[in-house]
């Protein structure tokens, strides 16, 4: 990669203009040098693809909650990019226990202490946990 070819592509402002990443490239004398890059189109596309997949899952869980098939916990779990296994590890529970809590009827009966723990792990209040905003 030549120095002047280091890609500077970030159409959709994926990186919020926050930070450029360092790349290695060769200057005109053939010496390796460092160059900052704002983005690279294929990488941006792949990243957007990953987020679309997550957004789909969040939207699906939202539908599930509205249809009364899933508890609000399921929605917040997806929003935090977690699956029952990962959430269970954060809670110190077995996975099956978290999976049970994804059922609306069981979630409604949870003790405050359990709800508080979920809220803490997901960085929100208990009231927020019980709703989908």
């Amino acid at each position: 990669m030549k120095e002047e070819d280091v890609p500077q592509e970030d159409e959709n402002k994926l990186y919020e203009g926050k930070n450029r990443l360092l790349e290695y490239a060769v200057d005109k004398d053939g010496n390796y040098t460092q160059k900052l890059s704002v983005g690279f189109e294929p990488k941006n596309v792949a990243l957007e693809q990953a987020w679309e997949l997550i957004d789909d899952q969040v939207a699906e869980s939202k539908k599930g909650v509205e249809a009364g098939e899933l508890s609000t916990l399921a929605y917040h779990m997806e929003k935090n990019l977690m699956d029952p296994g990962l959430l269970a590890q954060h809670m110190g529970y077995f996975t099956w226990r978290v999976k049970r809590h994804l059922r609306p009827k069981i979630f409604a009966k949870l003790k405050t202490s359990v709800l508080e723990k979920y809220a803490e792990v997901l960085k929100m209040t208990v009231d927020q946990l019980k709703t989908i905003e």
Binding site: G17, K18, L22, P42, K43, V45
Partner: protein
Amino acid sequence: MNSTLEVSSAEQHKAIMGFDHVQSAHCENGVTANLLKFHGLNISEAMVFGIGSGIFFCHIPFLQLNKLPLTSYRVFPGLVFSRANRRLGVKMKIHRFRNADKAMGVLDKMLDEGLPVALQTSVFYLPYLPKALRFHFNAHNLIVYGKSNGNYLISDPIMEVPTEISYEDLKRARFAKGIGAPNGKMYYPITVPKEVDLRKPIVAGIRRAAFDMTKIPGPFLGVNGIRFLSRRLRKWPDKMGERRAGLNLGQIIRMQEEIGTGGGGFRFIFGAFLQEAARILEKEWLQDLSVEITVSGDRWRDFAVMAGRIFKRRQSEDENYDALADLLLECADRENEIFGKLRGLSLKD
């Protein structure tokens, strides 16, 4: 954002502990190089990567992340660090913790003594990173070098400038769960040699990388892995349909180009290292191989560009999975030759 302001705050940061933030492409090399620099051993990121035999390839279908096969262009997290330290004669102290509050207490004590320390963290819990990059990835390394108004001063090697993080956020980041959970891992050098003859470590680093790329038996690792991926990728659209095939492709591009590879799946960093090595060992043919690996990196980039167009459905007629697979075979052949030559490297002759 005012850029002059940022520079002055970087200088302020430096004044606090004499710690110099140097941005790098990859977190693990960068943290290692920056820590060693603080302790008086001046070494580049590329040199750490090369001596630590960081370059690699693997494609392992039965190890899955987010239901997609594991593909990596580098060795397992932590290996660059441990190999580089061993070969350079550096001793590191590594702590892991069960109790988060205790872990934060020990960190504070180290900072009071004026020692910057490295931490393993999850990027999901680092608010200063752009949101788009924040997945549950647990093997991100950064350096804490001080405290100011209750916040921790962070030198994150992938960031242009030093930054800050709150106690709560740092605690969460250090005790994230999941694959490769950091368990509050904290590390710092205890003995660093002032002068190192780099020749022996360089040779050891190159030979191990060359062995890993060309000689490990089985289909998944090194050059064999690239060919294996090529064979599988050819069948993806028929086997799993356009959508799944696109997702698989996206995952590979992210592993190749996302944070920390320096572009072209670490091939360019390795090229920079080979160039430095050629000068230190006074071997002209290493410079020729540096040019070769750069060509290979360029081909990996072509692969990414074509793949990106394919899963955006913007491909031209001769851009398809077959063409991608052929590109991979070309990379495999070229790297097989490069690393085959590197395997014969020795200090003598």
